[in-house]
Each structure stands twice: as structure tokens, then as C-alpha cells.
Symmetry: D4
Subunit: 162 residues, 8 copies
């Protein structure tokens, strides 16, 4: 089955966080591909990736980046596919810089921004699945199952009160 | 043709901003419905809206809210449809409160957050269209046309240098 | 004696902080119940909790949450009981997100917000007790005793100068 | 009927905002008294006000202040009554200073903080009423009526879409 | 004489600010060219501009942008010329977003960031001139003259005390 | 010789930081006294301390506090002696809350605010000495000696380049 | 009578704010001199001013500056007189930049920082007077009178309730 | 060969960060000199350094500083050479204070500000090299080589996915 989600990240140092997105995609049985695409070191590859994404069969792109974090927005500039941006937590500003750089896009190139760091990476996978689920009942069912599972787990976590 | 996008906002005071999202949906010929759903004044209606959205035929939800801005996240808690959150500019904190309340969602209920205020509202419409365009070539074509039109307009705006 | 305070938190990970509120309630001999109620994973349970709280005999609600932190505000949307919100310290933004999401409520659903993290959790218990003490002289006496005890302890802590 | 709520503010310049709290108390038929008590210009009066509030029959205190905003916290230091703090919007920092000065109280003297500015002032009155309503069914009924009225108004505001 | 400074801005709405940079370059007799290059609407033109800048004879680039503000950083990704970034003041966040998006660049693609808004635009021109002045004694002399003129003007402004 | 500087702090937990102020006073041979005075636990002692400080012979007050940090401002409300405020670094907000609570005083009760944490505590001692040195040539000489010593040390620290 | 306070500001644009400091000094009958000394345009004059201030008879320096706001700190680097820093409100960042640049001084050169803008300017004058009052009973009396006057005015402002 | 870059830092504690700038200069074969010049402890040396830098043959200055961080701006006030400012990460505010103090310069004395901390230090060296490369083809070649090397390394880092 063809890859439908493309996961891009600006640096190998983003991998420990973005891996959580990939694992989530796997548990939802969504075929994906992953790439290191540094906006500032690989601008040609970035352009290429954005421009060819749709023709390759991708339906959603997840892009994680930190600091100036231009990757998600620049991919969005080069495609009409939905782009989900994951702001990395940064050493100095904790990810406030990443968040503002990713979310404050001008009219024309939206980036669907999720929360900073690990929760955001996992949510990016869910959001990608939600996009696919608008026309794929199987993915929708898996999302519904996950939602119910989370509800039960949250409820049962009361047993951990000490 | 059935409405595929639901536009919700927390207060009629959000309308001048959210109207821009609606106008953009119209120009992309995307059928939508719009509602005032205050998370804090109409919590039952919010639950109802979230739980029935998919069965009504909606495919994407756009939710605008300001301040504590619980609307997008609470809709997301009640559906597996993709929810796009638009942070309203606020009088005291300029929308930083809205942004953080909307974007910092925990794992399980992502909100696709766009930029604060008017640019965000317009981008929310584009993002909704991008989701639809993953399986609707006509919408995709309109998005591609808009992208090209924006490119040309930006380029030509040089003529306005004085 | 019936429980008069309901302590809710959005996740078991909030328990180490919220436990401090519970311990403080115990030392003030205030009967309470505690629950995990995730706004985003258990929205139905949240609604139910809010709507039935008064009839169950609760007089005050303490709700702790982090990040988007919708729990306190959504409980407030569903009850006319006073709701005290405790912003959890968060990994990325240190609780600034929690604070703004909890405190910046619109007219109609106030949340009595206390300080971020552990001091806030303990103060939430005091504040709940202060509410009860408006008509319960015994609780008032315990609060007055605690205040005097704290005064003496603060004064005597000078002996720890080295 | 005796005043049960004391409304204090740090400066006459806070009155346009705090007046909204007073009007809300009136509409809920809650007898109140109001005072200018500057923490920094009238420290003796502040102490006096805090220490005598309970014996005067007050049950809740609302205190509005801006900037360094010491008034709510210092009243809380002098009484075991619940103190509700309203952060004023400020000219330079928009009320972020007021908010942090009011909410970040140490263990022992909680301040029930509401949102910055006008929404906060009105919510402070609601919160005071909620405290009274824990033992006063008439006030509770008025709060429930207001909640229902707000629900209907929010719902009907859809008619203002243009 | 060939243009040695390239002034780029992301939108015609940046022109009132960036015009100040151009005027300053003129007063220093530095030949320049100016362009609208939207990172998000004209990504191909951006790449082209960056890659050809040196061969065209440009020695320094000034780029102004607001919000997500990817223009300066993406030009820097495509050239080894020094790039000066001017953060535009923005309607919602006053330019904090622009500043962080421009300055927080990763190793490999520095952007020489100046202050937000009008002072920054004028300083960008000075900084460009300083770069040229490292090998152009005439420009250096003009900069020294301006510095002395500013010193005298600042000193004499005391006469405006009333 | 009588104590001329009073060092107050809101909690024994501030002592490790405020000790640095005391050590600096000692090295400048300035007699001082030190106290724990919690604004929120010991409001009467605070009033007393402020009102009697001048008559006791104190000439300058140094007050350290964290979070809501009302101590310096409330002392300033009760005396016409100069009050120096030291914002403690806090666990959640790193001292931004302390800084704003201390520095944003309204007209009438200035607090001479220094930097957050340890550098601030040491500088508070220098500032107190500078006040005394306006009329005490011996203290002035010690300050001048310290300044020269710091200059030499800074210069010589180049030898630590590795 | 010789000038005992030196008022410096970085730009004539600071004068409308700093004038309030001067007026306050006048009403306290404190002789002062005032200067424009731009840290960045007049660095030699700044050095000169700092180094000669004490010998000229000045006892306290008030320095107002905005943005990068280096003036107060650089004067402090050149004198052992107490330096009071007034952060100007700025167009883009409202004075947060000025505040941090002025207050976050390293050990060795403290700046006594007051609140941002007009209240700060007036308080700077009071603080200067408080320093002088440590050895001048007349100034102390005027400060005590002002404090009492402010107390009465604050109290009487209740009559302006409408 | 004469030194063309001067690297200054405010304190030996900045050395671990600024060392990265020096190492980068070395790898680009750019002769440099390095100095501790504390703006607040060595103001005379700072003036001297700024005024003589050009005549010594320096072409670019890199200055790192933290907190109030006046060093880069004050050097810029004393020279027409381009000055690159590196904001140090700080213990309390993570370098936000350093960043604002360095970047928010008024018209007349620009500082080319780079990112906070280690990435900024390395980028400062690149930026200095870019300035030199405007007229030195050898340095330009080394920069182009480094850019290509970084591109390849980023691309190949995909092999580290686990």
C-alpha cells in the first residue's frame, strides 16, 4: 500500500520526538515515509519534497522543526496538501520560538499547528489520521476505538491514587 | 449539496473575524454551516454539536474562540473529525491566551491551530479546503488556482512601490 | 459526614500535585472525594460531574489541569458551584499555558484561579475551606489556627539562619 | 439587610472596571459595600479592613488592583474570608503584571483570581454570589436563572449574523 | 554603478517600514534594488533570488518580514552573502513573533537581526553600509560623518527641553 | 556601631540567595540586621518593621521575595526609607512574577529593584552601600576599591582562556 | 544651592516622561540638572558624565532610556553614585525590553530600577529624595508630608464613585 | 597575517559558548583575537577597544554578553565596523533578557544579532566570514564548501533513524 503520510523533520535531533508520531501512525496502520529535510541546509530538497508530495501519493504532511522552524511553513508554500506542524521544545526558549514561527503563517499557506513537543508529535499523527478518516471508514473506526480506549484508561487511572 | 464544513464560534463578537473564514469557503465553493456555540454558556449544545457532526455529513470543523478559548478543544474531545482552531485576538493579551489555550492540547484530542486573528480565520478556510482536496480534485484545482493567483498578486504588488 | 469538596484532575500525572490539596483538606477535616476527569478524554463524565455536583451535596469544586487545561472552565460551565482552578506546571511552558487557559474565562463561568503548581494546590484547599467557613465556624476556627501557626513558624524560621 | 460582599479597589482609576462588579452584584440582589483602599498609600486602612471584615458581617471580599497589585493578597493576609482578586488591565503590560502579582500567592493566603479587566470584574461578582449560594438557595436560583439567560442569549445571537 | 544591496520584503504592507531602509541607503549613496518576495507565495522566486544574488553583484541582502517571517532565513539558506533581517511589527504580537522567527536560526544559516520595526529598518541600512565599508573608505567616511552628525544632534536636542 | 541596613526576606527559603547580600554588606563593613518577615504570614510584623525602621536607625532596607512578592512594596508603603527589592528566582516562572510584582509599583511607594536572583542580591548590598556612600567617604572608598578590584579581575580572567 | 540630582535621558523623545521626574523633584525642592545623554550616540559624553558626577556634587543619578536602554547601566559602570533607572514604554514591546535591559545588571554595577513609564519616572524622583533623606531631615519631612497627602487623597477619592 | 575579527565577551563565564565561535573562525582560517571586555567592569577598555578596532585592522567584531548585555551595543556606539551580538543563555530568563538588550538598538548603532547561545555563537563566526567573503573569494569558497558539507551531512543523517 502506498505511503499516504510524509513525515519530515529539520534535524536528526528532532527524531526522538518525531518518532512518537511515527509510532502512532503505525499503530493506526497508516503507511508513511520519513525524511530529514533541513529548511536551512537542504532548501532545494525541501522545494522538491513540497512540489512532488501530492504526485507521489501523499495526502498529509507532518513536519517537525525547532527554533526559527521554517520547515512546515516552507513545505506549505510549495504544496496544497495539508501540512501539520510540530513545534520542537528548544533548549533556550522551550519551544515558544518554534511555536510562533510555525503557527503565525500569513494568509495563503496555513500550517495546522499542534502542541509543543511530545504530545504534539503524537497528536500530529492523530490529526493526519483524522484527515484520512474523512473518507476512510477503517481509519475512522481505529480513531474511534483509540478515543474509547483513552477514555477507559483515563477513567481507570483513578486506581493509581495512593 | 450537503454542508461539509461546520464553522463554530464562541461569541457573536468573534463574527467579524470568522466571517472572513466563511467568505473564503464561499469563494472556494465549499458548502458550510455556521453556529454560535459558546463552550461556557452552551456546553450541552457543544457536546451535541461535536457528537453529531460526522453523522450530519460534516467533514471538517472550524472553531474560533478567544481568551480561555475552550471551544475548539472541547469539540475535538467529542468527535474524530479534524478540528481547526482559530485563536481570536483579545483585548488584554492580544490573543496569546487564545493561542495557548487552543494549541496546547494533550495527546488524544488534537486541534489544528492557525495564526491569531484575521489571517488565521482565512487560513482556516484554506486548511479545511486542503483536507477536502485530499480526495476532491475540484477543490484541489481551486486551491492551486488561488495559490497561483496569490503568487502573481504578490509579484505585481511591486508596482505599488512609491 | 457527606463530602463537601470535589477534587478533580485531568490526568493521573496531576496527582502528585493535587495530592497536596487533598492532604490539606484532610488536615482541615473537610470531607472530600477525588476523581480523574479528563476534559478531552472523558467529556461526558465531565458534563455529568458538573451537572450533578450540587445535588450530590458538594459545595466547592477544586479542579487541577495542565496545558490547554479546559477542565476547570468546563466544570464551571456546567454548575453554579464555585470552581477553584489549579494550573499545573507544564514541561514546556512551565504552566503559563495552564494559567492563561484557566484564568482567562469569559463572563458567565468564573474560575477561582490559584497559583501554578504545588503552592496553588495547597491554597486551593484553603480557599475551599474559606468558602465553607463563611457559614461553618469550626472550619473558620481551624483556618484561623492555621494562620496563627504559619505566622509563628515563619517568625521562628529565623533560627535557621546560618 | 447587612452587606455581605466588600468590594475594594486600589485606586479611583479602577472604578470604571470595578463598577461592573458592583452592577452585577446589584442585579443579583447581593448587598455590598465599596471602598478605595490603596495598598501602598493606605496600608493601615488595608490592615484594618482585612482584620475587621468578618466581624462586620462580610462573607466575601472582591479586590481589584493593577500593576504591582498588592491589595488582594494583603487583604488575604489579614483575613480568613475568601478574597477574589481582579487584575486590572494596565497601560504598559496590559495586565500581565497585575495577573502575576495577584495569582502567584504562596501557601497560606490564597487569592481567587479571575480574568484580567472587565470580564474578570463581572465574573468576580458571580464568583462571590456562588460562594454565598453554597448556603443561600435564593442566590443559587438567581445564578441558575442568569446561566440559563446567558445560554439563550448566546444561542439567539446567531440572528446577528450578517 | 551596479547595485550592491538587495532589499527584499515579504509583502507590500512591509513597504512603509522598509522604505526607511531604502531612504537611508540612498542618503549613504549606496546603489540598491528592491523586491517583493513572499516566502510563502513566491517560494521559487525566493530560491532564485537567493541563488543568483552573488552573481548579480549584490554584496549584502536586507530582508524584512513579519509574523512567521521566513523570508530572511530562507534567503540565507540559499546564499553565502550576509543577510540582514528586519522583524516587522505585527498587529497581534507586536513583532515578537517576527523577531523570534528571524533571529533563532540554527547553525549554518545566520541572519543578522536588527530591532523590530522602523528603527530596525534604518539600522539595517547602516549595517549593510558597515559591511561595505570594511573595504570601501568612502562609505566608511559617510558612516563616520553620520555618526558625528547624530552625536551633535543628540547633544543639541537638549535645547528642546521645555 | 548601630545597624544601618535592614535585610528582610519573605521566607527562610530565600536565605541562600539573600545570604549573598549579607556577605557583601559584611565585606563592605556595613552593620546590618536580618529578619524573616513574610508579607502574607506576618502582616503585622511587616507593618511594625516598616513604621519603626527609621527610628531604629536604619538608613536603607533590602527586601527579597518571590512569586507574588509583596514584601518590598509593602515595606515601602510604611516608610520613607529607600527600599531595595530583590526578586527571587521562582520554580515555575523563573522570577518573572517576582520581578513584575516588585518593580511595577505605583507612584508614591518606589522600590529600587535589582536583577533576579543571586546577582541581584549581591547588587542590592552594593546599592545600599552606594546610598550610604553619598555621605560616608569611607564606604565610598570601599566601593571604589571594589570597582577597581573587579576591573582588574575581569581583565585578568583572560588568562583562563583555554 | 548646588544640584544634587542629575537627570539623564537617552533621547529628547523621553522628555515627556522624564519631565514628570523633574517636576516631582521640584515639588520636593531638590536642586537638579538635566541632560540628554545618548548611550549610543554620545558614548564619550556618557563616560565623562559618569566619571565626573560625584565631583560635581551630584549625589544621585536618575537615568531614563528605552529599548536596548544601555544608559542607566553604563552610567553605573562609571560611578559609585546610586543610579536609578527608568524604563521607557516602547512602541513595539511596551517597555519589556527597556525593563529587562535596565534591571538585569550583573554584580558590580547595580541599577535601582523603577516601574515602566510615567509612574516610574515620578517614583524615580521619590527614590532619589529618599536617598537624600537618609541624611537630610527636611527632605524626609517633605516625603512624609507627601505620603500623608497621598493617603488622604486616596481615601477621599471614594467621593468620586458615581 | 593580521587579525581581522575581534571576539569580545563580557565575562569568562561566556567562554564555553564563545569558544565555539572561535573554533568556527579557525576552521574557516580567519585570523582573530579574543578578549574579555566587561561593559560594566571595564568601561574604559570597552571604549578603547571600540575606538581603535578599525585602525588595528579588524574588519568585524563579535561580542557575546548575557543579561543586561550592554557590550555589543556599546562597542557599536564606538565604531563603524559591523558588530555581531551573541545573546548568552541566562540562568533566570534563558537569554530573553540578553536577546532584547542586544537586538533592540536605536537608529545609529546597529548590532547584527544572532540566535541565543551556542548556535548563535557558531553562526556569529559564519556571519563574520560572510562579511569578509564579500571581497575575499577564498573565504567565500570555504563558506560554500561548508554549506555543501552541511547539506550532505543533514541528508545523510537519515541513516541514523532507528
Amino acid at each position: 500500500m502506498a505511503n499516504v503520510v510524509g513525515v519530515a523533520m529539520g534535524s536528526i535531533s528532532d527524531w526522538p520526538t518525531m518518532k512518537l508520531a511515527c509510532e502512532q501512525l503505525e499503530s493506526l496502520k497508516i503507511p508513511y515515509e520519513k525524511h530529514i529535510i533541513s529548511a536551512h541546509r537542504m532548501p532545494d530538497e525541501l522545494q522538491e519534497f513540497g512540489k512532488t508530495a501530492r504526485d507521489k501519493g501523499l495526502k498529509v504532511i507532518i513536519a517537525g522543526a525547532g527554533g526559527a522552524a521554517h520547515l512546515p511553513g516552507m513545505i506549505a508554500a510549495n504544496t496544497t496538501l495539508p501540512v501539520i506542524g510540530v513545534p520542537m521544545k528548544t533548549r533556550t526558549l522551550n519551544g515558544v520560538d518554534s511555536l510562533l514561527s510555525i503557527v503565525q503563517m500569513p494568509f495563503g499557506a496555513p500550517v495546522a499547528t499542534v502542541s509543543i513537543g511530545e504530545a504534539g508529535a503524537k497528536n500530529a499523527a492523530l490529526l493526519a489520521a483524522q484527515v484520512l478518516a474523512t473518507t476512510d471508514p477503517q481509519v475512522e473506526q481505529r480513531l474511534a476505538d483509540l478515543k474509547e480506549k483513552q477514555r477507559v484508561e483515563a477513567k481507570n487511572s483513578e486506581q493509581q491514587f495512593d
